[in-house]
């Protein structure tokens, strides 16, 4: 012992390295000691020393000691102190982070903790050892165990998740620790659970099943909701893990009325509140907003989204969120995320969209919240991410809602132009023609969303007139857009206008015709399409121009004489060529930003230059691309039949429902077929039986006939044999024989007749047997039904009885509480006995 202690001291002090044992040697000696010493105290001291060395000599301790240490976990469980040293040592060895002590040691590989973890989990039993230690109540042991598991999970998340998943109670044990009254343990457990649940749906479901949401909301509430510390954030991060991409858990969250429980998180600090928005509060609320968005994310199933949206409205969550929008002093990133969240909460839900449309901002004069939001969108001074959020929110507000689309367009129409009040439409028009390129883009895209799947508004928007200069005649909005398209040099503005015009003119002959009348419009598109510049953005512009040109052809109603469908087509074939046109068109979907935009309804961009293509435009493009190519390449004669096709999305939907219906029908028919096959089998069997018995009878019959006829010919031949030398005596003898044969013949015939009768009788008997069998079956069915009804009745009675029992129980309880004594019998058991 003494020797060892001084040895260690010199190693750690290391004043004269040359003569003293190296770290590796000391470690070796210590490991030996743990392995071989029979004295617990010795082993404990050696473990303590190993722990002390395990940071500086991580490689040595890990390489030599890992097996020994896990042995300690197994064999020395009775001694918490030893166990604890072993756990801490293991924790150091496998720590995912680098220690200060090893910073300048070049021999320590960067991923050393991960390598040791890999070694440790080669034997899955080792994880069981660690899990078993969770049962230990000792504070230090429990804490170290939780920390060790956290390190292990950090290093090899997937592997360890899979191991823990198959250990019965593995996950449940960790969940139990959330209830530990010692907050340190509870808090460390939160970190462990966050790692544990990352990206593993099965574990997420078990954790949810083990009442995680209840526990987490309890903690969040006890810590003061959004004003709580980092613990609140940890709880919310864990919830977020449980819900992300996990529809089963989302469903559970919704059904478990947890949406209601998020409400207090959104209490905004009042102006008088000193605490205000601390950084921690910002993080907490941000997390909570993420949770809400996970529930109504457009990537969830429509059913989940819509039921969550309804609940959010009903419990006042939407209201609370809108309140945040209207409150002053909210930090910009919270405001941004709240705008995104409100967007997704209303997206596609008419009632929620309506609610949002009716909110008034407390400005002077009061304005609709939507108008205030749009003011920010077209304001250069607002943060970029906030402006993007407003666009997304506004798109959500218009999504699948003809009314909100109409009311936006309405604000632009001459009749309603009230100069004194600022309207959404005016803001967007202002943005469209402003010098700020982002405002151009946001406004064009916003306007475009008012036209999606809405032929009526496409025509209404054609009526919008703009007064460009004082005194000059007003021009139409479409005209102005087309002019601007030709004039602007900015890429984002051009792309935005091309997208707006494409959406506007598709499925709308009137808009096409209006465009064709703008001087230079068609020429511009042809030139753009033919342009030969080489860079991704130029390709995109060429493709978009080709797209719009093809829309002019496909949706042309031949009302503009100079640009009929046919003449335009010829122009395209001559000036551009079908091949080139197709190639240019295909460039659009090759653009990097197109692919980014096509992934998700929300723009996910970080910097302004990344703004270029809109999600809904991608959808339009996907639907129309092949249709347009076909339309342009098809020979002129057979184009007319293609005019004014219903929108392909509709077709797709129709086909989908049709397929679904046919599927169901098919299923039904298959089942019918199944039943018929079985019936057929049974009938076939019966038929086989009667055929068999029939043929048996037939055989017998033939046999008898044969016998009978065998007699006849022999008789005839003898007759002819004898005829040459006929004598009267012989003759009489032969006539006697003939009579005999005749007699036997008629006997046989009689028998045949009898047998035929018998066959007939048997056949009819068989038939009647079958009949009665059928009757019996019908009877059986009826009895069965009656029996079932009776059973149901019995069940209902049982229930009634049990209900009564419950009441009796209640009364008994009351009696007991009033101090009466009651005879002891358990009604529930009676009910059990009855069944």
């Amino acid at each position: 012992m003494d020797f060892f202690k001084s040895g260690l001291k010199t190693v750690l002090g290391a004043s004269e390295p040359g003569q003293l044992p190296s770290g590796a040697e000391t470690v070796e000696r210590l490991v030996d000691r743990v392995n071989n010493s029979t004295l617990l105290e010795d082993r404990r001291d050696a473990c303590r020393a190993l722990k002390a060395m395990s940071r500086k000599y991580r490689v040595e301790v890990g390489a030599q000691g890992i097996d020994t240490l896990k042995q300690v976990l197994e064999l020395d469980r009775a001694d918490n102190e030893t166990i604890n040293y072993a756990l801490d040592t293991l924790n150091n060895i496998m720590s995912p982070s680098q220690f200060e002590e090893e910073e300048d040691n070049p021999h320590v590989p960067m991923n050393i903790g991960e390598q040791f973890t890999e070694m440790f989990i080669k034997d899955p039993h080792n994880i069981q050892l660690v899990l078993d230690l969770l049962d230990e109540y000792d504070f230090r042991v429990r804490l170290s165990t939780v920390q060790l598991l956290t390190s292990l999970l950090t290093n090899r998340t997937k592997d360890i998740q899979e191991i823990i998943l198959v250990k019965p109670m593995g996950v449940s044990k960790m969940m139990d620790l959330l209830g530990d009254t010692r907050e340190v343990i509870r808090n460390e457990t939160l970190l462990l659970l966050i790692k544990l649940t990352k990206g593993n749906a099965n574990i997420q479901k078990i954790v949810a099943f083990e009442n995680a949401f209840d526990r987490l909301f309890e903690i969040v509430s006890s810590e003061g909701y959004s004003d709580g510390g980092i613990i609140v954030e940890d709880c919310l991060l864990l919830m977020l893990n449980l819900l992300k991409n996990n529809s089963s858990n989302i469903n559970f969250f919704k059904e478990g009325s947890y949406i209601q429980k998020t409400l207090p998180m959104f209490n905004t600090p009042s102006d008088s509140d000193d605490a205000g928005w601390s950084p921690q509060k910002v993080s907490n609320v941000h997390c909570m907003l993420q949770i809400i968005r996970t529930l109504v994310s457009p990537s969830n199933s429509a059913q989940i989204i819509s039921s969550c949206q309804k609940i959010m409205k009903n419990v006042g969550l939407l209201d609370a969120l809108c309140n945040i929008l209207m409150t002053s002093g909210v930090p910009a990133d919270i405001l941004t995320e709240t705008i995104n969240t409100v967007g997704e909460v209303v997206r596609g839900d008419v009632a929620n969209q309506d609610f949002m449309g009716n909110i008034m901002a407390p400005s002077n004069p009061p304005r609709p919240a939507i108008v205030v939001l749009l003011m920010s969108m077209v304001n250069e001074k607002q943060p970029f991410s906030l402006r993007c959020a407003v666009l997304y929110c506004f798109q959500c507000y218009l999504y699948h809602n003809e009314l909100s689309q109409a009311s936006l367009v309405q604000t632009l129409l001459p009749s309603s132009t009230d100069v004194s009040t600022l309207t959404s439409g005016q803001l967007l028009c202002g943005g469209l023609f402003s010098t700020d390129v982002l405002s151009n883009w946001f406004s064009a895209v916003a306007l475009m969303h008012a036209l999606i799947d809405n032929p009526g508004q496409k025509e209404q928007l054609l009526r919008v007139l703009l007064a460009t200069n004082v005194g000059s005649t007003p021009v139409s909005l479409l005209h102005q857009c087309t002019l601007l398209l030709q004039q602007t040099t900015k890429l984002q503005s051009k792309v935005a206008l091309l997208m707006l015009l494409s959406q506007w003119m598709s499925y709308c002959g009137a808009a096409v015709s209006a465009f064709l009348q703008v001087p230079g419009g068609v020429g511009y598109l042809v030139n753009q399409t033919c342009s030969n510049e080489h860079d991704d953005n130029e390709y995109l512009l060429q493709g978009l121009s080709a797209f719009l040109l093809a829309i002019c052809i496909h949706f042309n109603d031949d009302s503009v004489e100079s640009y009929t469908k046919d003449s335009l087509k010829q122009l395209l074939v001559k000036r551009i060529g079908v091949e080139t046109f197709t190639a240019k068109l295909s460039e659009v979907s090759k653009h990097e930003l197109y692919n980014k935009a096509a992934k998700h309804p929300q723009l996910r961009v970080k910097i302004p230059p990344e703004i270029l293509i809109d999600y809904e435009f991608c959808r339009l493009f996907k639907v129309l691309e092949s249709v347009l190519i076909q339309s342009v390449s098809i020979h002129q004669e057979n184009h007319s039949s293609e005019d004014q096709q219903p929108p392909p999305e509709d077709n797709l939907e129709q086909y989908k429902t049709l397929i679904r219906q046919q599927d169901a029908r098919l299923q039904e028919l298959m089942q019918q077929l199944d039943g018929l096959m079985q019936q057929n089998n049974a009938l076939q069997a019966a038929l086989n039986d009667s055929i068999a018995s029939n043929s048996l009878l037939k055989d017998e019959n033939t046999l008898l006939k044969a016998q009978a006829s065998a007699k006849l010919p022999s008789h005839h031949s003898s007759q002819s044999d004898q005829s040459s030398q006929a004598t009267p005596g012989q003759n009489s003898q032969s006539s006697q024989a003939t009579a005999n044969t005749d007699q036997r013949l008629s006997d046989s015939e009689n028998r045949v007749q009898a047998l035929t009768l018998e066959v007939n009788r048997l056949t009819s008997e068989l038939r009647s047997a079958l009949d009665s069998k059928q009757q019996a079956e019908v009877e059986l069915d009826r009895t069965k039904k009656a029996q079932e009804d009776m059973r149901k009745d019995q069940d209902d009675l049982l229930e009634l009885l049990a209900d009564q029992d419950m009441k009796i129980n209640e009364y008994k309880m009351k009696l007991i509480s009033m101090g009466q004594s009651v005879a002891e019998d358990t009604p529930a058991e009676n009910e059990l006995n009855l069944t």
Binding site: G170, E183, E210, E255, A664
Partner: protein, 204 residues
């Protein structure tokens, strides 16, 4: 939305016996003829009324495939009841009941209610397991037995299970006052002991 009781049930049994269909019929009021194999577990919920009281049933539909058996085991402990399902047209699913029962009994609370369900009794012509056999098995193991394929039967089964859970809860509640006082006292003591730790312990 408010409810008097909330119970968690699980549905177990071999793959393909129709567990997910049962859940869908119960929660969504519809039968889905084609259904994918369940991966892991799926959640469903429904409110029922007994004795004028709203009772919320949360139901976890587990995967019957062998590969998911260990995941299923994690769900026994927290469940108040289990629907053990077999398919009357497949004898093997009936033969495996013992294994399921062992698993359930080993990992669950002793007071978990188990209902045995012989499913697909609409396929009478393909029947391989007699109703009497199901009844006998249930009697032997103290389970409640039902053959179902109709929605009404299923709802009734669930109601009976819920009834049992209510009764058992009420019996526990009858004992509860005393227990609760104890629990509060103990919690109080713990809080005091840890007060010193707590301040240091909070990460921040």
């Amino acid at each position: 939305m408010a409810y008097a009781y909330l119970f968690k049930y699980i549905i177990i049994g071999d793959t393909g016996v129709g567990k997910s269909c049962l859940l869908l019929q119960f929660t969504d009021k519809r039968f889905q003829p084609v259904h994918d194999l369940t991966i892991g577990v799926e959640f469903g919920a429904r409110m029922i009324t007994i004795d004028g009281k709203q009772i919320k049933l949360q139901i976890w539909d587990t995967a019957g495939q062998e590969a998911f058996r260990s995941i299923t085991r994690s769900y026994y402990r927290g469940a108040a009841g289990a629907l053990l399902v077999y398919d009357i047209t497949r004898r093997d699913t009936f033969n495996h009941l013992t294994t399921w029962l062992e698993d359930a009994r080993q990992h669950s609370n002793s007071n978990m209610v188990i209902m045995l369900i012989g499913n697909k009794s609409d396929l009478e012509s393909r029947r391989e397991v007699k109703k009497e056999e199901g009844e006998a098995f249930a009697r032997e193991h103290g389970l409640v037995f039902m053959e179902t394929f109709k929605r009404e039967c299923l709802i009734l089964t669930m109601r009976r299970m819920a009834l049992r859970s209510v009764l058992s809860t009420r019996r526990q509640e009858a004992l509860a006052p005393a227990v609760r006082v104890l629990a509060v006292q103990r919690a109080g003591a713990a809080v005091r002991c840890c007060a010193a730790h707590t301040e240091r312990a909070k990460r921040g």
